[in-house]
Symmetry: C2
């Protein structure tokens, strides 16, 4: 677990780590900024709405939605409550199994996604894909997967 002498980062690693750390700090902030400024929603709220909009009947179980949006059930519950207040979503117990709750997108909610999506995608493109070469895009996918795999094992998801 702990060596006698820790292996510090060498110069190359340190530069890579610095670059990654900056990205971890600023990219989410930048994406949130765009959505907040143009649409008055957070990136997480966007993901929730987008998740519902992509499902066949515009509805999902809370647990499915939490998995999709990569957040805890508790967080999702709070967020959906706010989205419900804004009239974009409503919840009903699943008719097939009363333990589940289904979140439905309203028509207004659908409109909101349709309105928000192009700007968000454009921002992702501008900040992530435009600056990278094709090869780097592929590398990025592989790198991201390797890192999340390294994390993935112990705690697949928060909460619970």
């Amino acid at each position: 677990m702990s060596d006698d002498e820790p292996r510090w980062l060498n110069t190359d690693e340190n530069e890579a780590w610095l670059a990654l750390a900056r990205t971890l700090m600023r990219l989410p902030a930048a994406l949130d900024t765009q959505l907040q400024r143009d649409q008055g929603i957070t990136h997480f709220e966007y993901q929730v709405l987008a998740g519902l909009s992509m499902s066949p009947e515009h509805n999902l179980r809370m647990s499915e939605l939490a998995l999709f949006a990569d957040g805890s059930l508790s967080r999702l519950s709070h967020v959906v409550k706010r989205l419900e207040r804004r009239g974009w979503v409503y919840r009903t117990p699943d008719p097939d199994d009363g333990r589940y709750t289904r979140a439905f997108l309203t028509d207004d909610g659908w409109q909101k996604v349709v309105e928000a999506a192009p700007g968000h995608v454009a921002e992702v493109r501008r900040l992530v894909f435009d600056p990278l070469t094709k090869a780097q895009q592929k590398q990025l996918r592989d790198i991201g997967r390797r890192i999340t795999n390294a994390i993935g094992a112990e705690d697949t998801c928060p909460d619970q």
Copy 2:
């Protein structure tokens, strides 16, 4: 600004974006988890302590420290207040120019960094560098820089 028809992400881009989004979500959480569990501090608090520990006299101006730790002055002010309460840091007006505040690491603060650093570095290594090839590490540095450059121009830092 907005095209007639937005350019959606293609399959390759979508996979890369998914992998990146997961990393953005989970890597910071994983690093915070380790530091919180083993040392009772957040990653941002660690960065603040580490920043001070690396400076010649174990002190920096708040504004320098904010830049180093990649956070707003306001955020830093709150955090340093907490670190001060815990006895790891203290603040004094800069003797040379009373407008600046200097944050100093205490002996206990230094001990804390020495205690926390090896475990944190080991976690970064385990989650980021061990899973990657040498070539990917270099790519990661370049990719990170390109993305932060794309962001960088408009808002170098929050607050202010």
